[in-house]
C-alpha cells in the first residue's frame, strides 16, 4: 500500500500546480479599458529598428494611453486600419496609403519621417550594377542576366516599392532567379547573403544586420528609393468601435516636436548614423 500513499502525494502536487496556474492567471494584468488602449498597426521596420521601444513609452507617459503596437507588413497594417481594427497606423507605402485615403477609409495622412532603400548585393557584383543612378535600370540588368534576386514577396512597404521599380523597368520578374522569401526584411537579407544574391532593403534593417550579412550597398540615392513613413487614422464615422481620440493623440504625438527630435538622433549611438530623418509638416514633393 506504500505506493498508494505516494500516489496521493503526487495527485496533491498536481492539484497544487493546477491551482497555482489558475490563480496566476488571475494575476495577469487585467485588460486595459478600451478607452485607454490605442491599437497601432505598423510595419515591422519601426519595431525591429527599436524606434517604437523609445517613442511608445514616452507617448504613454505623456498621455496615459496604453499602446498596443501590432507590427506586421505595411500591406496588413494598412488593411487592419482600413477595417477599423486599429486606431491609427504608421506605415511606409505612399501609393497604397493614398489609395485608402481616396476611398475614404483612412484620413489625415501626415508625413512623419523618411529614410531610404538601397539595392544590396555581393561585393563581387556579378551583375555590374554598382553606381548606376537608376534603381529600375539596375533591376533590369539583374533580370537580363538572370542573376538571383531575393524579394520580400509579402506585400510589405518594401515589396510594394520593389513592384513599382519592376513596373518602371517594364518587366514582370519570374523564373528560378527570382526568389520570393515571404518573410521579414531581416530574414530576406539573410537568405540573400546565404545565396550570394541581390536584394532591395531599407537602410535601417541593413545596418542592423551588417554583422551577420556582409552584402554591400550597390545602388542608392535614386529619388524613387525614398522610404517615407506616414501616420493615418481610420474614418471614425465608418467604424463605431475605434478609439478616435487615442488614435489621433498618437498621430499628433508622432509629428510633435518632442517625437521628431528623438527621431532625428535615433540610432546614431548604435550605427554611427541616424536611421530616420524627421519630416513632420513637410510636403512629400519637397523631400
Amino acid at each position: 500500500m506504500r505506493w498508494m500513499r505516494g500516489e496521493k502525494q503526487w495527485w496533491g502536487l498536481g492539484v497544487a500546480v493546477a491551482a497555482g496556474l489558475v490563480l496566476g492567471q488571475l494575476a495577469i494584468p487585467a485588460p486595459v479599458p478600451a478607452a485607454q488602449a490605442v491599437i497601432l498597426s505598423t510595419t515591422t521596420s519601426t519595431q525591429d529598428s527599436g524606434l517604437l521601444d523609445v517613442l511608445v513609452p514616452l507617448f504613454q507617459k505623456r498621455t496615459g494611453y496604453t499602446v498596443k503596437a501590432i507590427s506586421v507588413g505595411t500591406g496588413q497594417a494598412l488593411a487592419l486600419a482600413a477595417r477599423g481594427e486599429a486606431d491609427v497606423c504608421l506605415v511606409h507605402a505612399p501609393d497604397a496609403e493614398k489609395k485608402y485615403v481616396s476611398e475614404g477609409l483612412l484620413l489625415n495622412r501626415r508625413l512623419v519621417m523618411h529614410n531610404d532603400f538601397l539595392i544590396v548585393g555581393p561585393a563581387g557584383d556579378p551583375a555590374r550594377i554598382k553606381g548606376l543612378a537608376s534603381a529600375a535600370d539596375a533591376l533590369r540588368r539583374l533580370a537580363e542576366a538572370k542573376i538571383t534576386f531575393v524579394s520580400r514577396g509579402d506585400n510589405s512597404g518594401t515589396h510594394q516599392l520593389e513592384k513599382k521599380l519592376w513596373k518602371e523597368a517594364e518587366l514582370d520578374p519570374s523564373g528560378a532567379w527570382y526568389l520570393q522569401a515571404g518573410q521579414g526584411m531581416g530574414a530576406t537579407l539573410v537568405i540573400a547573403w546565404e545565396k550570394q544574391a541581390y536584394s532591395l532593403t531599407d537602410r535601417g534593417t541593413f545596418l542592423a544586420f551588417k554583422k551577420r550579412v556582409q552584402l554591400v550597398p550597390l545602388v542608392e540615392k535614386d529619388r524613387i528609393l525614398l522610404n517615407i513613413y506616414s501616420v493615418l487614422e481610420p474614418d471614425p464615422t465608418k467604424f463605431p468601435r475605434i478609439n478616435v481620440a487615442g488614435g489621433k493623440a498618437f498621430a499628433d504625438f508622432m509629428v510633435s516636436k518632442e517625437a521628431q527630435d528623438i527621431i532625428r538622433t535615433f540610432g546614431t549611438e548604435k550605427f554611427g548614423e541616424p536611421l530616420f530623418f524627421p519630416d513632420a509638416g513637410k510636403r512629400e514633393e519637397a523631400l
Binding site: 496556474l21 521601444d53 501590432i70 531581416g186
Partner: protein, 232 residues
C-alpha cells in the same frame, strides 16, 4: 559556431542574473500554456472518454474529426480566432484580441483535440473485460469512469505532456491573437521570432534555450509522476 556559443553564454547569463524581462516572459508562457492545457484537460478528458466508451451514430466521424484536429495548424487557429475577436467580428465586443485571454483561447483550441484524441487511445487500449468486471462487481457509472481513468493514468499523463508541449512551443497563433506586445502578450516563442527579425541572434538563441529548458522541466516533472508506479 561562434554565434551559437555566444547564444549559449547569453542564455546562461540571462538565467543566472534573473533578467526581470526574461523572467516575466517565461512566467507568462507557463501561465498561458498551463492554463490552456488545464482547460483542454477539463474538456478533452471527458470528451475523449465519452467518445471511447459510448456507442452512438456518427461516433467514427467524431473520432476522425478529433484525430484531424490533433494536427490543427496553429496559424489557422490563430487566423480564425483573430477573425472572431476582431472589433468587426462576432465576438469583438469582448475586447479580448491582443490579450493573454485570447492566447489561452487559441492554445486551448490547439491542445483540446490532442488531449481528446490521446484520451480516446488511452481508454481503448484498456482491456474491455475490465469494464465488464467492474460493472459485475457493482461499480456505479461514476465509479466505473473514475476507475478506468486511474487505470489509464499513464497514457493520460502522456496526453497532458503532448498537449502542453504542443502549445508552449507554438508561435503562429500566439503571434496573431496576442500581437507580441511587450509586457502584455510577449511569450518565449514570439520573443524569439522578434529577436531573430531584429538580428539579435544571440538573444534569440538564449530565448530558445530557456524555452527548451522550461519545456524539459515541466515534462520531467510529469514524467516523474507518470513513472512513479513503474519503479517499485
Amino acid at each position: 559556431m561562434e554565434l551559437i556559443w555566444q547564444g549559449l553564454v547569453e542564455a546562461v547569463r540571462l538565467i543566472a542574473t534573473g533578467d526581470p524581462e526574461i523572467l516575466q516572459i517565461a512566467w507568462l508562457s507557463v501561465q498561458i500554456s498551463g492554463s490552456a492545457t488545464l482547460l483542454s484537460l477539463l474538456a478533452g478528458v471527458p470528451a475523449g472518454m465519452a467518445l471511447a466508451l459510448a456507442r452512438f451514430p456518427g461516433r467514427s466521424l467524431c473520432v476522425a474529426l478529433v484525430n484531424t484536429g490533433m494536427g490543427l495548424p496553429p496559424v489557422v487557429v490563430g487566423l480564425f480566432v483573430s477573425l472572431f475577436l476582431w472589433r468587426s467580428g462576432p465576438l469583438g465586443f469582448l475586447g479580448f484580441l491582443y490579450t493573454p485571454t485570447a492566447m489561452v483561447v487559441a492554445q486551448f483550441i490547439i491542445a483540446a483535440p490532442i488531449v481528446t484524441g490521446l484520451t480516446i487511445a488511452a481508454m481503448q487500449q484498456l482491456n474491455p473485460r475490465l469494464r465488464l468486471q467492474l460493472l459485475a462487481l457493482g461499480a456505479s457509472r461514476w465509479q466505473l469512469l473514475w476507475l478506468l481513468m486511474r487505470e489509464a493514468r499513464l497514457p493520460l499523463l502522456a496526453a497532458v505532456m503532448a498537449g502542453f508541449g504542443g502549445v508552449i512551443s507554438e508561435v503562429g497563433a500566439s503571434m496573431m491573437v496576442g500581437g507580441n506586445l511587450q509586457g502584455q502578450t510577449r511569450v518565449l516563442t514570439t520573443a524569439t521570432v522578434l529577436e531573430t527579425s531584429k538580428g539579435n541572434f544571440d538573444l534569440a538563441i538564449a530565448l530558445s534555450v530557456i524555452l527548451l529548458l522550461l519545456a524539459f522541466s515541466v515534462n520531467y516533472l510529469l514524467t516523474c509522476i507518470q513513472q512513479r508506479g513503474r519503479t517499485p
